[in-house]
C-alpha cells in the first residue's frame, strides 16, 4: 500500500512543484494553542507537517526551537499530549501527512513498539529521528514497518557517497537533506552545499529529497524548490509565534501568512 507521505509528495510532483513541509513543536505555546498553530500552517499551504516532541536536550536545535521546547516542557507537555496533537491535526486535515520529529530517548523510554502503535493509531504517517543513525535503527524500523509508518532519515553535506547509499536504502517516505552543517535556525542564505547534496542523494535513491535547515522565506523556498522535491521550514514558524507573544490571533495570522508565502515559493521554481 502506498503510504500517505508518498502520496502527498507524488501529488506535489504531479503539479510540477515542490512540497511544503512545516515544523512546530507540540505543546507550544500550549497543547491546544499548538494544535491551532499547526492547523494554521496547514491552512496556509503546508502539504506535510512535522510535529516536534519537545526534549530536554535538543542538541540539533538552535536557540529558537530550544526556546519553544523549554516553553512546552515548562507547560508540562507529555508524550500523550504529542500523540493527541497528531490525532487532532490528522483528523481535521485528512489530506495532510503528519510526521513526528523526535530525539530518540523519548521513544526508547516510551517503548519502541508502543510508540509505533500509538502513533499509527493517532493517524501519524511517520517519523524523523535526527539522532538515531541507521546502524541503531533496526528495532525502530521493524516496529514502524509493522504499523505502516515511514521513517525519514537525515543526510548531511558531510555524508560521503557510500554512506548516502546506506542511509537512503534504509529510509522511506523521503530523504531529509540538511542544507548546511549546523543546527536548526533561520539563515540569511541557503547554503550552496544543498544542491550538491541533493544531486548526490538522488544518485542513490528514487525517494523524494526534501531540503531543510535555514529556509525562512518565500524567495529561499523558491530557490530550494528549483532542485528539491520538498522544502522544510521550522524555526521561522516558531519565531512568528514567539514574536506574537500572548496575542494568539496575531500568532496564527503570522503563521498562516508565512505558510502562504512559502507555498507560493514552492510553486515558483
Amino acid at each position: 500500500m502506498t503510504s500517505k507521505l508518498t502520496t502527498v509528495l507524488a501529488q506535489a510532483g504531479a503539479e510540477d512543484r515542490a512540497a511544503l513541509i512545516g515544523y512546530l513543536p507540540a505543546g507550544f505555546p500550549s497543547v491546544d494553542g499548538g494544535i491551532r498553530a499547526i492547523s494554521a500552517m496547514i491552512e496556509g499551504g503546508c502539504d506535510i507537517v512535522e510535529i516536534g516532541l519537545p526534549h530536554s536536550d535538543p542538541v540539533l536545535d538552535g536557540a529558537t526551537i530550544q526556546t519553544a521546547d523549554d516553553i512546552a516542557l515548562r507547560g508540562g507537555v507529555r508524550i500523550t499530549d504529542v500523540l493527541r496533537t497528531v490525532k487532532e491535526v490528522a483528523d481535521a486535515h485528512p489530506a495532510t501527512a503528519v510526521l513526528v520529529m523526535t530525539y530518540w530517548n523519548p521513544v526508547d523510554r516510551y517503548g519502541v513498539a508502543r510508540f509505533a502503535a500509538d502513533l499509527a493509531a493517532a493517524g501519524g504517517a511517520g517519523v524523523i529521528l535526527p539522532d538515531l543513525p541507521v546502524e541503531e535503527s533496526g528495532e525502530w524500523r521493524k516496529a514502524a514497518g509493522e504499523h505502516g509508518l515511514d521513517t525519514v532519515f537525515v543526510v548531511a553535506p558531510s555524508s560521503k557517497d557510500a554512506r548516502l547509499a546506506e542511509v537512503t536504502a534504509a529510509g522511506s517516505g523521503f530523504v531529509y537533506a540538511a542544507a548546511v552543517m549546523g543546527v536548526t535556525g533561520s539563515r540569511a542564505q541557503v547554503g550552496d552545499l544543498a544542491e550538491d547534496l541533493v544531486a548526490r542523494t538522488r544518485a542513490t535513491t528514487e525517494l523524494p529529497v526534501c531540503v531543510g535547515l535555514g529556509v525562512s522565506n518565500g524567495a529561499q523556498a523558491a530557490q530550494v524548490a528549483g532542485f528539491a522535491d520538498g522544502v522544510i521550514v521550522g524555526s521561522a514558524f516558531v519565531q512568528r509565534i514567539l514574536d506574537a507573544g500572548a496575542d494568539e490571533a496575531a500568532a496564527l495570522d503570522a503563521v498562516g501568512a508565512l505558510a502562504g508565502e512559502l507555498a507560493q515559493g514552492v510553486r515558483s521554481r
Binding site: 530536554s56 523510554r109 543513525p133 558531510s158 552543517m181
Partner: protein, 411 residues
C-alpha cells in the same frame, strides 16, 4: 607505557559494552566520529604516537604520579591501610591531562586546528586549554553558567591560557548543557574542529579511547601497590561523575577478581531528595549524549537535572562501561552525600596536609566507610583524582572560612 593503549576489555566493533554504549549521533557528525575512530585505531598501533605520548606524560605531566600512604587519615578509616594515587600532583592538578594530551596528539594527526571541549568543574577545561597552548590550537570551552560561578578560579585559568570560555545559559546551566552546546558547535565547525570529549562517555569511540588514555593511572598504581605492600589491594575506590578517573584506575584491576572496584556517586543532598547525581544508583537505561547508558530521566525520557556540590560530578549520565560493570556486578557503586564529601575533604586536609578536590573527596568518604567495614587488615587504594585549590571558594563558604557566617556546618 604503550601497553596503556591495548587493554583486553575493548567494546565490540559498534562500541557496545554489553547493552551499553553505541553511537547515537546526528548524520552530520558520522563522518567526523568515524574519522576519530579510524585515526585512533591507527595511532594505537603507531609506536611513534605512543612514544610521543609517553614523553609528554613523563616530562610535561610529571608521571608516574606518586602513591602516598596516609597513616593519620587511615586511623579514621577503621585502621585500614589507605593508599592515595596522587593524580592531584599532575600538571594542571588532576587526572584530566592524561586524556587531553592523547587527544591533542590525535587532533594534530587529523590535521585539525581548533579544539572545543565541555567542562564541569573546569579541570577538563583547564587541561584542554593547557594542551591547546602547548600545541598552538584555537580553543573554545563550554561551561554551564552555574559552574562558571562556582569555579571562577578555573575560568580565569582557562582565559589566562588563551582559551575562549563560553558560559552556557540553556537548560540546567551545568555540565549536561555545556555538552549540548559543544555538540552544536561541533556540527557547525566539524571540518576544522575536534571535540575533545572529557570523560568516558559520548558516542563510540570516546568511551573506550578516553579510558585508554587514563589506563596509565591503574597500571602505575597496581605496580606501585604491589611494590609497596607485596600484594594487591582489597578494594579500589574512585568517584564517578562521567567516570573517567574511575575507569582509568579500575581498568587494570578488572581481571583481578579478588579486588573490589567501588565507584562513589554523588548523593548530593540525599537520595530521597531530587537533588543528587547518583545516575547508576537511581537512574535507568536510556540514551543521552550519543550513548546508551544509565540516565537520570523521567518516564517520558526527559533528562532530569542532577545536583552535586561538586561541579565535576554534577551530571545525569555516566560512561557506558560503568553501566556494564554495574550490571555484570564486577564493580559496585555507592553514594556519598555533599556533607560526607565535605567532611572527608576537611579530614584529609587536617590529617595529611593534602587538600583534595570535592570530586575526589567523594572517593575519600567512600574509603572511610569501607575501611570501617573491612577493618585494619584491609588495604584500600583511592584515586585522588584532583586537588582542591579550585574548590576553596565553595569550601570557604561551606565551612565559614571567610569572616562571614557559614553556609554549611562549622564544627
Amino acid at each position: 607505557m604503550s601497553e596503556n593503549l591495548t587493554g583486553p576489555q575493548v567494546p565490540d566493533a559498534r562500541g557496545y559494552f554489553g547493552a551499553y554504549g553505541g553511537r547515537f549521533i546526528p548524520e552530520a557528525l558520522v563522518a567526523a566520529v568515524e574519522q576519530v575512530a579510524e585515526e585512533y585505531e591507527k595511532a594505537k598501533n603507531d609506536p611513534a604516537f605512543a612514544a610521543e605520548l609517553d614523553l609528554l606524560l613523563k616530562d610535561y605531566t610529571g608521571r608516574p604520579s606518586a602513591l602516598t600512604d596516609v597513616h593519620r587519615f587511615s586511623a579514621e578509616a577503621g585502621g585500614a591501610r589507605v593508599l592515595l594515587k596522587r593524580e592531584d600532583l599532575n600538571h594542571t592538578g588532576s587526572h584530566k591531562i592524561n586524556n587531553v594530551l592523547g587527544q591533542a596528539l590525535l587532533t594534530r594527526r587529523m590535521g585539525k586546528t581548533r579544539i572545543i571541549a565541555e567542562t564541569g568543574a573546569g579541570q577538563h577545561g583547564v587541561a584542554t586549554a593547557t594542551a591547546c597552548a602547548l600545541f598552538g590550537f584555537d580553543c573554545t570551552i563550554y561551561m554551564g553558567e552555574v559552574d562558571t560561578e562556582r569555579q571562577a578560579l578555573n575560568v580565569a585559568r582557562m582565559r589566562m591560557l588563551g582559551a575562549e570560555v563560553v558560559a552556557v545559559k540553556s537548560g540546567s546551566r551545568t555540565l549536561k548543557d555545556a555538552i549540548n552546546e559543544a555538540f552544536r558547535d561541533w556540527v557547525a565547525n566539524v571540518d576544522s574542529t575536534h571535540y575533545l570529549f572529557g570523560t568516558v562517555a559520548g558516542p563510540h569511540p570516546f568511551p573506550a579511547m578516553v579510558r585508554d588514555f587514563h589506563r596509565v593511572i591503574g597500571i602505575e598504581a597496581r605496580r606501585q601497590v604491589l611494590e609497596r605492600t607485596g600484594r594487591l589491594p582489597d578494594a579500589v575506590v574512585a568517584c564517578v561523575g562521567g567516570g573517567s578517573n574511575a575507569m582509568g584506575i579500575f581498568h587494570e584491576f578488572i581481571p583481578d577478581a579478588g579486588v573490589r572496584l567501588i565507584g562513589c556517586e554523588p548523593a548530593g543532598e540525599g537520595l530521597e531528595t531530587e537533588r543528587h547525581g547518583a545516575t547508576l544508583t537511581k537512574g535507568s537505561p536510556g540514551v543521552l549524549h550519543g550513548m546508551r547508558t544509565y540516565v537520570l530521566q523521567d518516564e517520558d525520557g526527559q533528562t532530569v537535572e542532577s545536583h552535586s556540590i561538586s561541579a565535576g560530578l554534577d551530571y545525569p549520565g555516566v560512561g557506558p562501561e560503568h553501566a556494564w560493570l554495574k550490571d555484570t556486578g564486577r564493580a559496585e557503586y555507592r553514594t556519598v552525600t555533599d556533607d560526607a564529601a565535605m567532611r572527608a575533604l576537611r579530614l584529609l586536609s587536617r590529617t595529611e596536609g593534602i587538600i583534595p578536590a570535592i570530586e575526589s573527596a567523594h572517593a575519600l568518604a567512600g574509603a572511610l566507610e569501607l575501611g570501617r567495614e573491612l577493618g585494619p587488615e584491609a588495604t584500600i587504594l583511592v584515586n585522588l583524582s584532583g586537588r582542591g585549590d579550585k574548590d576553596m571558594h565553595t569550601a570557604a563558604q561551606y565551612f565559614g572560612l571567610y569572616d562571614e557566617p557559614a553556609k554549611g556546618e562549622n564544627r
